[in-house]
Amino acid sequence: MDLSVMIVVPVVGLGIAGLLLQAVALRAALRRRGDDPVEEQAWPPVSILKPLSGLDDNLFGNLESFCRLDYPAYEIIFCLESPNDPALAVARKVRDRNPRTPVSILVSRSSEGKNPKVRNMRAGYSAARHDILLVSDSNVVVDPAYLKATVRPLLAPGVGLVTNPIRGCGGRSVGSVLENLHLNTFVAGGTAFLFGILRLPCVVGKSMLFRKSGLEQIGGLRAFRDVLAEDYVIGREFHRAGQRVVLAPHPVTNVNIYGGTKRFLSRHSRWGKLRRRLGGPRYLAELIGNPVFVAACAAAARPGSRSLALLGAAAGAAALCAAWKSRLLDARMPLPLCLLAPVKDLVIGALWFVPLVSMRVAWRGHRLHVGPDTRVVAPGSTGEWLRPRLPAFLRTRTA
């Protein structure tokens, strides 16, 4: 047997096994039970921080869903950096239509910190009245049972932070379908795999619940003001401080309806850059964990019936796992769209190389340079070697 086949077949097999393990881990995470029942009066009050910046798909519905939580005592703080932000009108409407929910809107511009989300949250963090804080992105919608399901694990001894799996719903454009597929497969599966099998905390900022006093013990919000992947790093620091970081068995929904392909590419090239900075050499595992891309490269290098059969097997496994994970997450993704999972994996495989070339990211109107541990650094100090040597037209395309 040829040497390349001896390498490619086991790598693709490993990737397929990884996809299956992710699905198994996700199933286990979503079915996890065993937390003690909590009496109604024992639920601690919660402050919900929602940093807003621009309009997300379904923004009104996303924000209003937090006014309809089945939870005895909580407040919502919408934080914005500019009075001209179009999200302000939406936040006002949500507040006015839900007078029974304590909703505050804070508009403040701070120059402290280079992470725009952390900077935006600082005023809300100071104004929060309760010790338990829920940081929740503006692009998620939740059901009424969400807060109890998320607070419950925090009440167990030793737990410092609780996060939730993410599912993507609502795609009507190519970009949003790819986005939802990626959230339901790689992101949800990968998070469950890291939590459940590798026992590593992998916190995604769409939903993070912790005690303010706990965060203060690891430096407070100010310690993460220059860190771009503040969610992951906060989780890691909780873990290092000896507090458990837990994945709640209740997913939050990220509604992506009209987003274009450009937004999908930009978001995942950004996330890839953050993961490369955080993972270092482990970033290579992502490529191995993408059997469709590996098999496609092998088929392109040595076309033939065997390589095509291998590609077909990898694509079939990716589509099946996508359908399974979407079903586990109740993402309401039509089965035919799951057949696009291999196409998405090819695109993501190509995007894997971008962080090797560039460490610049564009995020909600900000252009930032990602340094070690995802700290925002000055241009030119990101340690890029290849990008400055590229021709100008390629340099602009990798930003």
Partner: protein
């Protein structure tokens, strides 16, 4: 730090020129309402095309079902009213039924598009302008001349008839579009005509375009009065 206490003084964010799949829009009516409601709009008008039978372009549009016709008007109006109820309940947003009377000729100097806002009965695009204005007046519909000047967009055709004959038509027109999607018509401002800005929405990305801000009460009567008097009207480029 500024803590927002009340939004009572905030102007209404409005768009009075929106198409759905009832004519040549990309989204169905409910999706359009959701898109604008989710983005925090206070008032919108659904204005699908009513194409004339006088011209080949109009015939083609009607044949391809890119136009509301006398046969589909009642269904259209009922659907808009149903969505208006839902939008008010779900988002607190007013949805006003309207149409865009569409007279397209090969010659841009003869072409004209006219929005009739808060329409109750069918108005035929093949009628003469005087009769159309009369029908609009009888229903107390707001009359807006849309994209009256030269447009920059390559895919749109100019509709210059009202502007070329503005002295004759100005008394019949309640407001002129001073901005349409990405175009701004400075001449409308120079002539001091009552103005309005709208997206001419056909697809989701058109949400981000010129819009109207109105300082008035949140009901159809107040909105029409505000636009006719053209006091408390501002335009804004709605960007994300």
């Amino acid at each position: 730090m500024n803590t927002e206490r009340s939004s009572a003084a905030a102007p209404l964010l409005c768009d009075f020129h929106i198409h759905t799949r009832f004519s040549d829009g990309q989204l169905e009516l409910a999706a359009v309402v959701d898109l604008f409601g989710q983005a925090g709009f206070d008032a919108i008008s659904i204005t699908d095309h009513v194409a004339t039978r006088e011209t080949a372009i109009g015939w083609v549009a009607r044949g391809l079902r890119l136009s509301v016709t006398e046969r589909t008007f009642d269904t259209y109006l009922a659907a808009v009213r149903e969505e208006a109820r839902r939008a008010l309940e779900t988002y607190g947003m007013l949805v006003i039924p309207g149409v865009e009377i569409t007279k397209d000729y090969l010659n841009a100097d003869l072409s004209a598009h006219l929005l009739l806002i808060d329409i109750q009965e069918y108005v035929c695009a093949s009628w003469g302008y005087e009769r159309i204005f009369e029908a609009a007046r009888a229903q107390d519909a707001l009359v807006i001349a849309c994209h009256p000047h030269h447009m920059s967009a390559r895919t749109d055709r100019n509709t210059l008839y009202f502007w070329n004959n503005r002295q004759h038509f100005a008394p019949h027109i309640d407001a002129w579009e001073i901005a349409n999607r990405d175009d701004v018509f400075g001449a409308v401002g120079l002539k001091k005509y009552p103005y309005v800005a709208s997206s001419d929405f056909h697809r989701p990305r058109h949400l981000y375009s010129w819009k109207t801000l109105l300082s008035c009460g949140r009901n159809v009567g107040e909105i029409k009065r505000c636009l006719r008097e053209n006091r408390g009207v501002a335009i804004t480029l709605f960007r994300n």
